[in-house]
């Protein structure tokens, strides 16, 4: 029986030996491709479904992404990690799909409608319903914040959202994102900071019903408490 490694398969596909097997052709390459799919599809799908509203769309974009991997693998020059390149293909396929949808404003989709009305989040597409539990106030408050952050992410401008999701949700490094999106690392940093700030602002607006504004100068906790006292 073939021995298997227990380390992170997502990173292991970036080895030179694995890439050689992929581009080698024949039955060995077909096996390697199956292994590549097994090691990467969950993360790629997770990324794609943050943007797309239905399971069918996710399925199509995932298929298109792996077809593109197969088509382009012989020309892959290892300038980035293989996994970063796959993310890049998934990013472009997702953008293509979103552009198509923008051109077809009349398309109606119940899942997207649920997202737009705040009844659902994209991650709910595959998630089971959470079980009931008796959460403490602190936990309930934390969950409320998490929900507001999730909503705010969906409202980010796309340029910021791509960087934010690749960095903070998918865990890619700033350098990897810079290569993938063809922008300087400094721009990635600026986009990421702006994205996070917009999310914070959106959350605070919803919490306080007014835009958060950094105070002119610092205010002590006791002074803040005095302000809210009747």
């Amino acid at each position: 029986m073939m021995e298997t490694k227990s380390a992170n398969p997502f990173e292991e596909v970036n080895s030179k030996a694995f890439l050689e097997a992929l581009v080698g052709g024949g039955a060995k390459a077909q096996k390697a491709f199956a292994e590549l799919f097994g090691a990467t599809h969950e993360r790629i799908l997770n990324y794609v479904r943050r943007y797309l509203g239905s399971v069918d769309e996710c399925q199509e974009v995932l298929q298109e992404t792996y077809l593109a991997v197969h088509k382009g693998i012989s020309k892959f020059e290892s300038k980035s990690k293989l996994t970063t390149w796959i993310y890049s293909l998934a990013y472009h396929k997702t953008c293509d799909r979103m552009s198509e949808k923008d051109r077809n404003h009349l398309e109606f989709n119940e899942e997207r409608m649920a997202l737009a009305t705040g009844e659902s989040t994209p991650s709910a597409l595959f998630d089971d319903i959470s079980p009931w539990d008796m959460a403490s106030d602190a936990v309930a408050e934390k969950r409320r914040l998490e929900g507001l952050i999730s909503q705010a992410i969906e409202s980010l401008p796309l340029a910021l959202r791509h960087v934010y999701q690749l960095r903070d949700e998918e865990g890619l490094s700033g350098e990897e994102i810079a290569v993938m999106l063809g922008m300087p690392s400094s721009t990635v940093r600026v986009h990421l900071h702006r994205a996070r700030n917009q999310i914070v602002q959106s959350v605070q607006e919803k919490l306080t019903r007014k835009a958060f504004k950094a105070p002119e100068d610092f205010k002590t906790k006791s002074q803040s408490a005095e302000v809210v006292k009747p």
Partner: protein, 104 residues
């Protein structure tokens, strides 16, 4: 009259605008230690900035609560069938998500 200690605190205390400037590096853990100390001093005394930094850090730590969940098996099977039919992958003896050790 302000005590000497309070006066010193006010001198080293960052204004709130600095908190916004440094929060990115604070969240990334790349803030200079001395700056980090002054940063923490500020947020320990400023309620608005404490709240801002708390939510900013949650935003940067989104992976901890936006968990990935595996897709339904039916979804995976359909995609595998498509890739096999296209002749680009062979899932017989499927190793799942594990990479065989023949790739060092």
């Amino acid at each position: 009259m302000m005590s000497h200690m309070a006066s010193l605190m006010m001198k080293i205390m960052y204004p709130c605008a600095k908190i916004r400037e440094f929060v990115y590096d604070y969240a990334e853990g790349t803030l200079d230690p001395i700056v980090a100390m002054r940063f923490k001093l500020h947020i320990s005394m400023c309620k608005d900035c404490e709240e801002y930094v708390r939510i900013y850090r949650m935003t940067a730590d989104v992976r901890s609560f936006r968990k990935r969940s595996p897709p339904p098996q039916e979804f995976v099977d359909r995609t595998k069938a498509f890739l096999e039919k296209s002749g680009i992958a062979d899932f017989s003896g499927d190793p799942g998500s594990k990479i065989p050790s023949r790739y060092p």
